[in-house]
């Protein structure tokens, strides 16, 4: 992965910079010993590593502002970091950058049930937001699989999704407001507990901006009352086409499940070996989950089952109790872990129009043969967000490169059929240089203009999102 040359003059000034940072932060909040900065050398995209100049762990918004003022004055790139679970290299440092970690900003500031909002510091983990309200019957809806670890800060930066976003939407649909520090240290409040923007929707563009517009320190989120219950059904089909038609028919019938998950044969087999969930070994498997009271669940499931029957499923399994429900989810939830057991894998994240599902799956199969690497498919079928998993062996020279090339082909395929490069993981460094496949120069210029406004010197997370050659002059001017 190509990264910009580190600025030698910054590397030379390391001691002075560390000293300045020490002047505004407690001693244990500045990490500069090379043995310790290695903890920040990568995120969830572990194939690429580079230790930062140093890392800071501020505990208040004011400390964040003080750090940014120093970096702004010194012209030092800053890479904001939540929990470092990004799969796109969004939080990967450069050697001349300061990692600004928000892990110590983890408090709940206000819980407001009458208005159904919670305000938290941004380093709080996704799951512990729900944890703060769940005894009162509420939850925070977006639920990335990494929710135990990932921070709200990272969720906002990546506009993360989750298994239940078919019904509840992704982060941007559940975010009411943020407190953010601009690169020059200015603290701004955008949005709040009320709905919609009074002027331009700045919150809308901050969410999903991958840490390039400002450092988010607090967030006001929408919370909802938990549904009375939820139940999945599992169905197996002997072709991807039929499974795809079934998904489309369910949606057309007006049933809106909270989740429709898809697994192909390779994934089913691997997951069965690993989790023994008792899945049928068929070509395509769907897990459809609905919510509500018992009566409502029954009403929805009966419609879904009737639709499934018209497609001659090889298996149609209901859960009669919580235990059986957990077994249906078991294999799906362990999919990534199971894959990791047998191989190194690269997880792609393109989205396609659901009508293109059969074609894209077939094409992926062909590409997989061409490149000689297996690809498993497990994804959110209701919204077309695919997760092709390319299996490779990192110890075999050249396989990572072959895997990357195959990944690029698959993502371009997603774009060609009317979809996009990434549905929820973000561009980061991973898909940065593929952006030209989806966007024209004018499209990219319009986005870079927005960064020019928020961060004129391109100091925040500068080498991400945009193809290096497109952002070169702007970064050089810094």
């Amino acid at each position: 992965m190509e990264m910009p040359q580190p600025d030698q003059s910054i590397l030379n000034r390391k001691n002075m910079i560390v000293e300045k940072l020490h002047s505004v932060l407690p001693a244990d909040a500045v990490i500069h010993d090379p043995a310790e900065t290695r903890a920040y050398e990568c995120d969830g995209l572990a194939a690429y590593k580079c230790p930062p100049l140093c890392a800071v762990l501020p505990a208040t918004t004011e400390e964040v502002a003080a750090v940014l003022k120093i970096c702004h004055a010194e012209g030092i790139p800053v890479v904001p970091r939540g929990s470092g679970t990004s799969l796109a290299g969004g939080a990967m440092p450069t050697a001349d950058s300061v990692i600004l970690g928000v892990a110590r900003l983890n408090q709940v500031i206000e819980t407001n049930y009458p208005d159904r909002t919670i305000t938290v510091q941004s380093g709080r983990t996704n799951l512990s937001v729900t944890g703060a309200v769940e005894t009162d019957g509420f939850f925070y809806a977006p639920d990335p699989s990494s929710q135990l670890a990932c921070a709200i800060a990272g969720n906002i930066a990546m506009n993360s999704g989750g298994a239940h976003c078919l019904k509840y939407g992704v982060t941007t649909n559940n975010l009411h407001g943020v407190k953010m520090v601009m690169m020059d240290g200015t603290i701004v409040d955008i949005g709040g507990a009320h709905l919609d923007a009074g002027g331009l929707d700045l919150l809308g563009v901050i969410c999903g901006s991958e840490g390039q517009l400002g450092v988010v320190t607090e967030a006001t989120l929408r919370i909802l009352h938990k549904p009375e219950g939820a139940l999945p059904v599992l169905m197996g089909f002997d072709s991807a086409e039929v499974a795809g038609e079934c998904v489309s028919d369910i949606i057309k019938a007006g049933v809106l499940p909270v989740a429709i998950e898809y697994m192909d044969k390779l994934c089913i087999e691997v997951c069965e070996d690993f989790a023994k969930a008792g899945y049928p070994l068929c070509e395509a498997l769907l897990i459809v989950e609905v919510e509500g009271s018992e009566l409502e669940i029954e009403e929805q499931l009966s419609k879904i089952k009737a639709i499934a029957q018209t497609h001659n499923p090889v298996e149609l399994r209901e859960a009669n109790d919580a235990d059986e429900a957990a077994r249906i989810w078991l294999g799906r939830k362990s999919a990534f872990g199971a894959m990791g057991q047998i191989n190194d894998y690269m997880c792609l994240d393109g989205t396609i129009p659901v009508s293109e599902l059969p074609f894209v799956l077939r094409r992926i199969g062909e590409l997989s043969k061409e490149y000689g690497l297996d690809v498993g498919n497990v994804f959110h079928a209701g919204d077309g967000n695919m997760h092709p998993l390319i299996l490779f062996d990192a110890n075999t020279p050249g396989q990572l490169e072959t895997c990357e090339a195959l990944g690029a082909e698959i993502l371009k395929l997603c774009v060609e059929v009317g979809g996009c490069l990434t549905g929820e993981h973000g561009v980061g460094i991973e898909k940065r240089d593929l952006m030209n496949a989806q966007y024209t120069d004018a499209d990219l210029e319009a986005q870079m203009q927005v960064k020019d406004v928020f961060d004129p010197n391109w100091l925040l997370n500068p080498a991400k999102v945009f193809p290096l050659k497109d952002s070169e002059t702007r970064r050089a001017a810094a």
Partner: protein
């Protein structure tokens, strides 16, 4: 009036424009600071370009009438779930609302409280910026985090960043049936408490409004037949400490929500009309501080439509309540005097201004409208 027939023509028109332009879709939402300039209309950029019911997506040119889209969706038992309001009831303008206008003004209705606003259903846009450059962002798939979300930025930008030429939207299945609980005679505090309690229940409320004109506080439930019956009963019990609910459904129910959506209660207003967005629990304080001639509350109390004596600056009466107020209807003279859009704090105003000057360096697109 300039009426481009294609996106390319529109781009040419913007390149060669040499003065301010007033952008018009259906011309039914003429609010904000009055804009001087030649009218440029999207009405000839019309038509649905793609509709995939199984994928819940529709793509249409910006000038497509909303009614055409709604009719097409209805054939497949689908709809725009954000329930865009029709401003004609309070503004009295002629013309037919376009989908581009809905998006440019981020217009939503009662269901916004549960499913989200117009911006939440907008999957992609094509637009022409102030220099005549054609730009696209987003696409037509449900999940897309590829690059910055200019889709959200364009929604509610009232043409000041660019003229929309095409929008793609997520659509939703229409519900099989619906019912509304009506509570009678609650004062504003009780009404907001009742609505908060309903919205904070597990019964999936999709509308909560307080209509002082009729004395009604109304809570809507939608879905499949049995489910609606079940939740209606549960919610009636849930609210029984506050009052006894009457239940309606059918045409009267639909009309009721159409009236809430369009703020019909204020259609005869002789004074000015303001639209205020606050957190619901601040709603009663707003009413107390402003003491409006008449009002209507939607979104559980968080959206307040108010009629005030002409020339009242509502913002001055609620300086400490977080949120935003928009002057929707007033004479052009008053709309030139009182800021029509909520003034932003300085650093944010700076960002907004700079964004506008990047996208429209000559300042020709609806100049000053959002002020």
């Amino acid at each position: 009036m300039i009426e481009p027939k294609t996106e390319a023509e529109l781009a040419e028109a913007l390149k060669s424009a040499n003065g301010p332009l007033r952008i018009s879709g259906g011309g039914t939402r003429d609010y904000g600071r009055p804009v001087q300039g030649e009218v440029i209309s999207t009405s000839k950029l019309s038509g649905i370009t793609l509709y995939e019911p199984g994928a819940l997506t529709i793509v249409a040119q910006a000038g497509t009438p909303v009614s055409e889209i709604e009719a097409e969706l209805a054939k497949n038992n689908q709809r725009l779930a954000f329930e865009p309001m029709d401003h004609r009831a309070i503004l009295g303008q002629e013309g037919s609302p376009t989908i581009g206008g809905v998006i440019a003004a981020n217009v939503s209705g009662p269901r916004r409280i549960s499913v989200g606003a117009a911006r939440d259903f907008l999957l992609g846009v094509r637009f022409v910026d102030g220099e005549g450059k054609i730009i696209k962002n987003g696409g037509r798939v449900m999940k897309n985090v590829t690059g910055y979300d200019l889709v959200k930025l364009m929604a509610g930008s009232f043409g000041t960043l660019g003229i929309l030429t095409e929008v793609s939207l997520k659509v939703m299945p229409a519900d099989e049936t619906a019912a509304t609980l009506i509570l009678n005679g609650l004062d504003v505090e009780q009404a907001v408490a009742a609505m908060s309690s309903a919205l904070g229940s597990p019964y999936d409320v999709t509308g909560a409004a307080h209509i002082p004109a009729s004395g009604h506080t109304v809570v809507r439930i939608e879905g499949f037949e049995k489910s609606v019956a079940y939740r209606t009963e549960k919610l009636t019990q849930h609210l029984s400490a506050i009052g006894t609910a009457e239940i309606i459904s059918g045409d009267a129910h639909d009309l009721l929500w159409q009236d809430v959506r369009d703020a019909k209660a204020l259609s005869g207003a002789e004074g000015d009309i303001w639209r205020v967005s606050v957190k619901p629990s601040d709603g009663p304080a707003v009413i107390q501080a402003v003491n409006p001639t008449s009002y209507l509350m939607d979104w559980g109390g968080g959206l307040i439509w108010m009629e005030t004596p002409s020339g009242t600056d509502v913002r001055a009466l609620i300086p400490d309540i977080a949120g935003h107020s928009t002057l929707i209807k007033a004479s052009p003279a008053i709309r030139s005097e009182i800021a029509t859009f909520q003034p932003e704090p300085k650093p944010l105003a700076l960002i907004s201004n700079e964004l506008r000057s990047k996208f429209d360096p000559r300042g020709i697109l609806n100049p000053g409208l959002m002020s």
